[in-house]
């Protein structure tokens, strides 16, 4: 598969009468988007706002972050199986509205949504302080169940991103990157002397609002399987998660999966990136055993020399991570795992809920229990109401001046386990 990603650099977002991209400025007609959102009868109202890097703005509680993209040519369409029809994506040309993001906010369950600060200390920990954010704040109808609300919220965010993405279809991109992913045997024939490397992506699938969708399929119902990494760039993998903010993969993280990008960067130079395996993180032991068996079996069948395994979440999924690592190593495939840590606020605890000597090459996204104080910011988009209850908060964590003290696990993407950030720990 060959995919060209055309990056259109967005310099600002403005509300306007006509939605269009002009000289890098994304003009948005909020009324049209509002009408689109309210087609879903589960919403009572919706508000749009813009948050720019450096502004004194706190967004909370954040549900998902999505990058607007549009399919210019090639099979299928963005977000297949969820917003567009199911058809294999990952080839042709896709345009990306680089620097822009759709941020959805809405309190689904109270604990599990996070914070984006556009300035100050908190901004250093989230990648979304650097994006121009069109923030969509939803109010559901009364008595809507959390599960229905999550589904509506997820789809509304994707729909808005899809609509905005379309504005980039006719625009000439500022930069084009080409990604080629060959059939396995061709890839091996082309690079006979390079080590064959795969990427094993573990997807959050504990269920009950901890879900990830692949071509519309809830990943907890799938066996471990394979796809082309270029498909991921077209939105084949989507977040349906309401879990701790720091290490959940938002849809934006999937669309810009840094492991895929960095493996492609070395492809043909120091390694041959020739396989991508996706597996789940289900809660039952039987599922964990089956999925990790399949992961190891596939890496061996493909004849891989090495694999990077990335995790999503913590605690329970630590067991999936270690099982995958151990079994893949036993299959003779060398691994590097990417995780994050819960070493306690003092940093003195064991960091993972499981461990094995086979995991001798670990990259960490940092200790999620680290406590920081976020300064008071002038504007809140969404609501600050649950700041004591969110994962990473505690009783009395908001001072009179509006500053809040939290563990960095409350910040969206802070300890991301795809290796999205520079944060680490020793």
């Amino acid at each position: 598969m060959n995919l060209k990603l055309g990056y259109i650099q967005i310099r600002d977002i403005q509300f306007a009468k006509t939605s269009a991209i002009k000289d890098g400025v994304l003009n948005v007609n909020a009324k049209e988007l509002e009408a689109l959102v309210l087609e879903d009868e589960n919403f009572a109202s919706v508000k749009f706002d813009i948050a720019r890097p450096g502004e004194s703005v706190r967004i909370m509680p954040v549900k998902d972050v999505i990058e607007p993209r549009v399919k210019v040519s090639g099979d299928g369409d963005i977000f297949p199986g969820m917003i567009s029809k199911v058809q294999t994506v990952g080839s042709g040309v896709t345009h990306v509205l680089k620097g822009a993001a759709i941020v959805t906010t809405g309190q689904v369950v109270g604990f599990q949504e996070g914070i984006i600060d556009m300035t100050g200390l908190g901004a250093e920990y989230t990648p979304f302080s650097k994006t121009l954010n069109l923030v969509v704040d939803f109010t559901p109808i009364k008595n809507l169940t959390p599960h229905k609300y999550e589904e509506s919220l997820r789809k509304a965010g994707l729909r808005i991103a899809y609509e905005i993405g379309k504005l980039g279809k006719e625009i000439t991109p500022d930069e084009v990157k080409e990604y080629e992913f060959l059939p396995l045997l061709e890839s091996i024939a082309k690079y006979p002397n390079l080590p064959k490397v795969g990427y094993v992506q573990m997807l959050q699938s504990q269920g009950l609002l901890h879900d990830t969708y692949v071509y519309g399929i809830d990943m907890k119902l799938s066996l471990t399987t394979m796809l082309s990494p270029t498909e991921v760039f077209d939105g084949a993998i989507l977040s349906g998660n309401c879990v701790s903010a720091c290490d959940k993969n938002t849809t934006y993280h999937h669309q810009n999966n840094p492991v895929i990008e960095d493996l492609f960067e070395q492809h043909g130079k120091t390694l041959n990136f020739c396989a991508m395996i996706i597996t789940n993180e289900n809660v039952f032991l039987m599922d964990k055993q089956r999925s990790s068996d399949w992961t190891a079996k596939l890496t061996k069948y493909l004849g891989l020399d090495g694999a990077i395994i990335s995790q999503e979440g913590f605690g329970n999924p630590d067991t999936d991570l270690i099982m995958n690592c151990k079994k893949v190593e036993e299959a003779g495939v060398k691994t590097v795992i990417i995780t994050d840590e819960y070493a306690g606020r003092e940093g003195t605890s064991q960091s993972l809920a499981d461990a094995d000597p086979a995991a001798d090459a670990v990259v960490t996204g940092g200790n999620a229990n680290q406590v920081i104080t976020l300064p008071p910011l002038k504007k809140i988009i969404g609501s600050i109401g649950h700041v004591e209850k969110i994962a990473g908060g505690f009783k009395g964590n908001m001072a009179k001046d509006g500053s809040i003290t939290v563990e960095i696990q409350a910040i969206i993407g802070a300890t991301n386990e795809l290796g999205f950030n520079r944060l680490s720990a020793r």
Binding site: H147, V243, G315, G347, T364, F394, S424
Partner: protein
């Protein structure tokens, strides 16, 4: 601002007194800097000054441990420095152990900030890296010019109570405290680089060495449950409605102990979950799904168990460090024993 007062501890070799044949010399306090002290003086600039040097033979220290400790501590007490430095000892085993021992002592007994330096395989490193800051050096004195500025810098940071960075930033041996820092490259690139090295058989450094994972062997089976008091313990965050003790939704700082005397069933209006790591809808509808009080009351009635203990213990396992969990359990396990509880049903989520 006046310069900070520093005492420097070195052995007979670095004092220029002699090698192995002079290793039995007794502790001696000299004014001013001696030997490597000159390099420290340069590194400290106008911020600090070595006012005194303590010299002690390595054999003397290790063979007359208690006496040597007392004598050296006496010198330090007399001078009352702002900072105590020892070494660097590089890979000299007895010297490293002496540096670690005396630093640990000065820090714990006198509350004076300390810093030492040595090679990671020095036996003193393994013994003291978790109690005092040990700057990592190479294995020979050739590394003196790198080691001294690092020790001086970290030493001053400790005195001034500035935040200490991650071991890799401030150059000390990992001490069991995980500290966050921003690396040069993003994690995915670090992972790809690490894999390329691992595949090529080249040395690489893991960012998190695997701990020795503690396995708990299960107790022996209970022969007759009908005589036993059974307690419920959960990490699923079930609490009385309103979460009266404000147990955190993640990274719990405490556990709760609640009386369920006379409680036959947990209902939507009386109990809920405080746990932020799973969808709380079903647990809030009926908390028995996580903490099965209703079923155990039936078992109690049917005589399948002796009785249900009148208290349950609860916390949120979500994002809670294993160290905290262990500390909670250690405490309430004693309470369970005191209350003659014979079996515990431990539920998670």
């Amino acid at each position: 601002m006046s310069k900070l007062k520093v005492i420097h501890y070195i052995n007979q070799f670095y004092a220029g007194i002699g090698g192995e044949e002079k290793a039995d010399i007794k502790p001696e306090l000299r004014e001013g800097a001696v030997g490597p002290g000159a390099a420290f003086t340069a590194a400290f600039g106008d911020k600090a000054q070595i006012t005194h040097t303590i010299i002690c033979g390595d054999s003397y220290f290790n063979e007359n441990l208690e006496k040597a400790k007392k004598e050296i501590l006496g010198f330090v007490k007399k001078v009352k420095p702002d900072l105590f430095i020892a070494g660097p000892a590089f890979n000299a085993g007895r010297y490293g152990v002496a540096c670690g021992t005396i630093c640990d002592l000065v820090q714990s007994e006198l509350g004076i900030p300390v810093i030492t330096g040595m090679y990671r395989e020095n036996p003193g490193a393994e013994m003291f890296k978790n109690s005092v800051y040990i700057v990592e050096t190479n294995n020979s004195a050739v590394d003196m010019r790198n080691a001294v500025p690092k020790m001086a810098k970290l030493g001053l940071k400790i005195v001034k109570k500035e935040p200490i960075g991650a071991s890799i930033e401030d150059g000390y041996l990992p001490n069991g405290v995980r500290v966050n820092f921003f690396d040069t490259d993003r994690g995915s690139k670090r992972a790809v680089d690490m894999l390329v090295k691992k595949l090529a058989g080249k040395p690489f450094t893991t960012e998190y060495p695997m701990p020795d994972f503690e396995k708990v062997p299960p107790n022996k089976a209970i022969k007759d449950m009908s005589k036993v008091t059974v307690a419920l313990v959960t990490s699923g965050g079930i609490v009385p409605y309103g979460n009266p003790d404000h147990i955190e939704s993640s990274s719990a700082s405490k556990y709760g102990e609640y009386d369920i005397t006379g409680v036959m069933d947990l209902t939507e209006s009386t109990y809920e979950t405080a746990h932020g790591g799973y969808d709380p809808v079903y647990a809030n509808q009926d908390a028995d799904r996580v903490l099965p009080v209703d079923v155990l009351r039936e078992f109690e009635k049917e005589g399948k168990i002796g009785k249900l203990h009148h208290k349950f213990y609860t916390t949120t396992g979500n994002g809670t460090s294993t160290k905290s969990s262990k500390a909670f359990a250690k405490e309430f396990a004693q309470k369970l024993l005191y209350d003659k509880v014979g079996a515990v049903i431990l539920t998670s989520t």
